[in-house]
């Protein structure tokens, strides 16, 4: 990247505080595909001049997969350790690159002593667009392109965020097409509830195939996602259907970064 991503430790050493902490998440940190999304979120933050920082190696799993799998002990151990770090840095506002981290920190950390204003990166993008700080210019044109958006469960049904990602796409002047099951009725990609880390139970189809068939039925050029797990599941689906050439799965952040030539 053309700029250095600031860490909390560095800011603290310089006696500064960021406006917002970017919580990267495990997928965003380690998964090669998701790392690209992470870097694009940083590029957007850098582009608009928002003072931000990441925890870097001080970040650890929120505990979400442990909690969904039923291990409350491990979840709370992770949560309390993270809360200690966040509170020590006097964090007030957090943007996450993952709906699972978003849900956990926003809803489940306050009861354990960690209360912050938490937003998902699609909400940040919407805010930046509303404030006029972010447009869709200087980069790739999505004008008239057919895009369908897949609602992540923990962003949509889980927390009622349906409009922000759509607003981020509307600004592209693209042709947004909805799948039959969208918003509150959206169909899961198949990865939630710790399914990402295990083989599916015996059945007659994989959930991501069911979903990708529905997405492909809208004949899109792009499938927009807002979650690194959905990204994996949708990408796998597109590959299995042999549609990699015609259809690209991109995160809201990637589309925004591309549209702005970042």
């Amino acid at each position: 990247m053309e700029f250095k991503v600031p860490t909390m430790a560095e800011l603290m050493a310089a006696g500064e505080e960021p406006e917002i902490l970017f919580w990267v998440g495990c997928a965003g940190s380690y998964d090669e595909r998701a790392q690209k999304i992470t870097r694009d979120i940083c590029k957007i933050l850098h582009h608009v001049g928002l003072k931000y920082a990441v925890l870097g190696t001080e970040e650890s799993c929120t505990g979400d997969p442990a909690k969904r799998a039923g291990n409350e002990f491990l979840f709370q151990m992770q949560a309390m350790t993270n809360i200690e770090v966040l509170n020590a840095y006097n964090i007030k506002k957090i943007v996450t690159g993952c709906p699972h981290c978003f849900n956990t920190i926003k809803n489940e950390y306050p009861g354990l002593g960690g209360t912050y204003e938490v937003i998902h990166h699609s909400q940040l993008i919407q805010d930046l667009i509303n404030e006029g700080k972010l447009k869709a210019e200087g980069g790739e044109s999505f004008k008239g392109k057919k895009i369908t958006y897949h609602d992540p469960c923990y962003l949509g049904r889980g927390n009622g965020v349906y409009e922000a990602p759509r607003k981020a796409l509307e600004v592209l002047d693209a042709q947004l097409v909805e799948m039959k099951r969208c918003k509150a009725n959206g169909l899961c990609c198949g990865a939630g509830g710790a399914q990402m880390f295990k083989e599916p139970e015996k059945g007659n189809k994989d959930v991501n195939i069911e979903r990708i068939e529905e997405a492909l039925a809208t004949e899109p050029q792009f499938i927009a996602a807002g979650c690194p797990f959905c990204m994996t599941m949708l990408n796998d689906g597109v590959k299995l259907k042999d549609k990699e050439q015609e259809v690209k799965v991109l995160d809201i952040a990637e589309i925004t970064a591309r549209a702005n030539g970042l």
Binding site: M1, K4, T7, V24, C26, G28, S29, Y30, Q35, K36, R39, C42, V54, G56, T57, E59, S60, C61, P65, A66, K67, R68, A69, G70, N71, E72, F73, L74, Q76, M77, M80, T81, N103, K106, N107, E108, L112, C153, R157, G158, N159, A184, N185, L187, C188, G190, G192, G193, A194, Q195, M196, F197, K198, E199, P200, E201, K202, G203, K205, V207
Partner: protein, 422 residues
């Protein structure tokens, strides 16, 4: 009969309440105003039914019919006790209007129930089938619909016979009421006055006995939702659907582990998660009694639609069946009886609970805010924390989170390497 019918219902309803109280405590006394609004909107206003317009309209007719026609039962009872004939006839035009509307609604209910029967038994909608919809649950639904059709038929036939007796000027049958629907049945009736009186009396008794019979059928049936939908929505979860409860018992232990000087508050020792119905909360158990087995949850469940064993409706039905079983054990053998069975494994299998993606499609789809996910999570908690039994890949993931702070086997030292890419 009124007394006996009501007493029997009270007796059975008390058992249901006792069974629900077998569950653990849960605080749902917060935000009374928001709870009331939720109940008015979701239960009274049936807003979540509207997602599917055809059953919404049919159900609305039956719902309104049930509530409104039951006003007439008041008159039927008073007439029965005091030997009067249509005691409210003094209301004049209003009375005619009311009886006329009851008749139109009764015809609507009749038709809606007939369509419901066709949807279940002729069209065989997929939503009404499934492994859990065999034997009793299947018959239960049909019994309810047939009973409602019979009750409405009796009501209309009673009015028709009454109207004919009124027209013939028979003593006791003074002119009262308007009969827009039952007029059409007049041709079916004989002209003999005694036979007419017999038909009128028979239908009157059939209707009144039928209603009290139906009332006492409710606690055994999925049809209990007509009452429990109201408390169930009132006490439903108001937090964001994505939020899982934090377990206080665990918080104490974790705090003690992280900070040796921490002295936890006294809490009763109990198991983590749920193996049986006593380990669930009373809200979970109330949910189970409220379920009317409509199958909206199962029809939108990603696991179920892709052929997995999991069916959220079955989770609720299993919970209710197990609760009934435990209740019967208490009646027979006393409160401490153990039958060696449990909700997990004897009713709900491991394969089912691990197939859930926690996507909340089921809770979103439920027209009365039932939460199958809440039960699934408690069962997982028991399996993982009490037994350490989970799919191998889940155990590997948990090990990674514990050792590396990530669900995959990567070094924490590499966590920031993403910043070095382009």
């Amino acid at each position: 009969m009124v007394v006996a019918g009501t007493a029997l219902f009270a007796f059975n309803a008390r058992k249901v309440i006792r069974n629900i109280k077998l569950g653990k405590a849960a605080n749902r006394s917060d935000k009374p105003q928001e709870r009331l609004m939720t109940m008015l909107k979701v239960a009274f206003g049936q807003t979540k039914m509207a997602v599917r317009p055809v059953p919404f309209l049919l159900h609305l007719v039956v719902y309104l019919g049930f509530v409104i026609i039951n006003l007439e039962v008041l008159e039927i009872v008073i007439d029965g006790i005091f030997g009067t004939h249509r005691v409210f006839a003094g209301l004049g035009g209003l009375y005619n209007f009311l009886i006329g509307s009851f008749e139109l609604l009764a015809a609507g209910v009749w038709l809606a129930c007939a369509i419901f029967l066709i949807r279940r038994n002729v069209v065989k909608l997929k939503r009404f089938s499934g492994v859990e919809m065999k034997s009793w649950p299947k018959s239960d639904a049909n019994y309810i619909l047939i009973t409602e059709i019979l009750l409405m038929s009796a009501f209309l036939l009673m009015n028709a016979a009454d109207a004919k007796l009124q027209a013939l000027g028979v003593a006791h049958y003074q002119q009262a009421g308007a009969f827009p629907v039952s007029t059409w049945l007049l041709g079916l009736l004989p002209n003999n006055i005694n036979t007419l009186i017999f038909i009128e009396r028979f239908c009157w008794w059939f209707h009144i006995v039928g209603i009290f019979g139906f009332l006492n059928y409710l606690p055994y049936s999925k049809h209990f939702h007509i009452m429990l939908a109201f408390p169930n929505t009132y006490f439903s979860n108001l937090n964001p659907k994505g939020e899982f409860t934090n377990m206080d018992s665990v918080t104490n232990e974790v705090k003690a582990m992280l900070d040796p000087s921490f002295v936890p508050a006294e809490t009763a020792p109990g198991k983590f998660g749920a193996k049986d119905i006593q380990d669930l909360t009373w809200v979970n158990l109330l949910n189970a009694y409220t379920c009317t087995e409509c199958g909206r949850c199962t029809s939108v469940c990603p696991a179920n639609m892709t052929g997995k064993l999991l069916s959220p409706r079955k989770i609720m039905m299993d919970t209710r069946d197990r609760m009934e079983e435990v209740g019967k054990n208490i009646d027979k053998h006393g409160a401490d009886h153990q039958d060696g069975k449990s909700l997990l494994d004897d009713y709900i299998s491991r394969e089912e609970i691990w197939a859930c993606t926690s996507c909340n499609a089921c809770t979103e789809a439920c027209p009365v805010n039932i939460d199958p996910l809440g039960i699934i999570v408690e069962l997982r908690r028991y399996a993982v924390m009490e037994e350490s039994v989970a799919p191998a890949s889940i155990n590997a993931m948990l090990g990674n989170v514990e050792n590396n702070g990530a669900p995959w086997k990567y070094s924490p030292a590499d966590r920031f390497n993403w910043a070095e890419g382009d």
